[in-house]
Symmetry: C2
Subunit: 242 residues, 2 copies
DNA sequence: GAGTCTAACGGCACTCAGTGCCACTAGCAA
DNA sequence: TTGCTAGTGGCACTGAGTGCCGTTAGACTC
């Protein structure tokens, strides 16, 4: 063995699955801190790896790209959402199921407030990271859309695909709006309450249009019933037009 | 001058603004063809530049990144949308204005069907290009949201920000759905008709939810009016809960 | 037509992300 | 002790993106 081949003994953290998770977290944590301290572009992968006590090559065995390290548990969220949809009660309203499922994202962000806040400032500052975040949002928006599409199609909706895409986008936007507002408040706001309000707005917009509305009104009139019916019918006669 | 410094005469296309546009198009066109022929990753910027008859360094003076070349006129679309919002009739319904403005994107895509189709297959195939497209969509979705937010705020909507974000997402999703469906048909479908249908769905979902619903119903009962009112009131008593 | 100036261009060298390859070794099994 | 496996680090390589600078086409002036 030559002198140049000599090296420090390898700790080999990733031998066990728990160790792999631990190293992933260590890399992610080190990266976030370095990004915040020195800026994203100014931080090299070498520095991240060194801060976590591993080699540069090992970093790329845990994360495909440099920016992936900021969204470490995103895959986890997506698979968890898919599982939630699989075991969802089919009798519940699809939009409602989608809303309550997407709030898994809020739970994940709330579970690690410190990292969430740092990532928030980074995604607001660095354009490429903002794009990356948008791409991750799009990924679970697709999961929402797929679920809604199958459910809408079951209900005999002939525009299921369109309605699913639009509703999924609306739900994701509402979720993001709540999330960003909460992060801007530094995690102080009542996230559950604002989420409920936001999803109520979405549900109102899309549930109502799905099934026929059931409307109830009270009127007082001396006119004979057939005339009342005719007048009421005239009010909605343009509804068939598309 | 040494032999190594000798070079072919420079054509200098970009001396005039028209020439710059022409070279941009040439680079974009060459890139798309190479991407389709040899794959995105397998195509180097050197090859694109060479195919357009310029040096590699010039490529990066016309496009910031390699993937930007696929979305060459995106900035143009965004600024045109912003201008459209500025001269929009303030008496028109905001959602309707947003819908008709976003269809500028459809016009741009329809204007160059060939490139649009090639880009479509690329964005479906290459993950990084799909992410890039999602990011571009997000950019004009923000323009929509900003317009809707100011208009909703004018109307005294205290949840203007949320409603604007959700409506903008829905409009963008509807637009994309129409666009993708049209591209999958190879440009054969009637894009205007399907756009009208899609935007009708969005408008229905968001215009109606803005004002209070006006409901009319006919009922026949022998019960005294106060009891009827009390029973009807009980039906909606959970509506205040948030 | 000759001189001048500006800006587009090409070349070169550099950094860094990401990848393939291989040698090394900690931990485990026989 | 002797393999075997898998995590790891080093190394070299490709390619994107950037800063710098010399060159020169084309426009403008006189």
């Amino acid at each position: 063995m030559t002198e140049s081949q000599r090296r420090a003994p390898v700790t080999r953290v990733g031998a066990t699955p728990a160790g792999r998770r631990q190293l992933r977290r260590a890399l992610s944590s080190a990266a976030v801190d370095l990004f915040v301290a020195n800026g994203y572009e100014a931080t090299t992968v070498d520095e991240i790896a060194a801060a976590a006590g591993v080699g540069r090559r090992t970093f790329f065995r845990y994360f495909d790209t440099k920016d992936d390290v900021l969204f470490a548990n995103h895959d986890e969220i997506v698979t968890e959402m898919e599982q939630a949809f699989e075991r969802a009660d089919p009798s519940r309203d699809p939009v409602e199921v989608a809303c309550s499922t997407v709030s898994l994202v809020l739970d994940y962000y709330a579970a690690d407030l410190d990292v969430s806040l740092k990532r928030f400032t980074l995604t607001r500052t660095v354009a490429s990271l903002r794009d990356k975040e948008v791409a991750t949002v799009d990924r679970y928006q697709r999961v929402l859309a797929r679920y809604l599409q199958t459910r809408f199609a079951e209900q005999g909706d002939d525009t299921a695909s369109l309605r699913a895409a639009v509703a999924a986008a609306a739900i994701a936007a509402a979720n993001n709006h709540v999330l960003r507002r909460w992060l801007r408040s530094g995690g102080k706001d009542d996230i559950a309450a604002s989420a409920a309000r936001a999803f109520a707005l979405v549900g109102e917009a899309f549930r109502a249009a799905n099934a026929e509305q059931t409307v109830v009104a009270v009127l007082s009139t001396a006119r004979p019933l057939p005339e009342v019916m005719a007048r009421l019918g005239a009010v909605f006669q343009d509804e068939g037009a598309d």
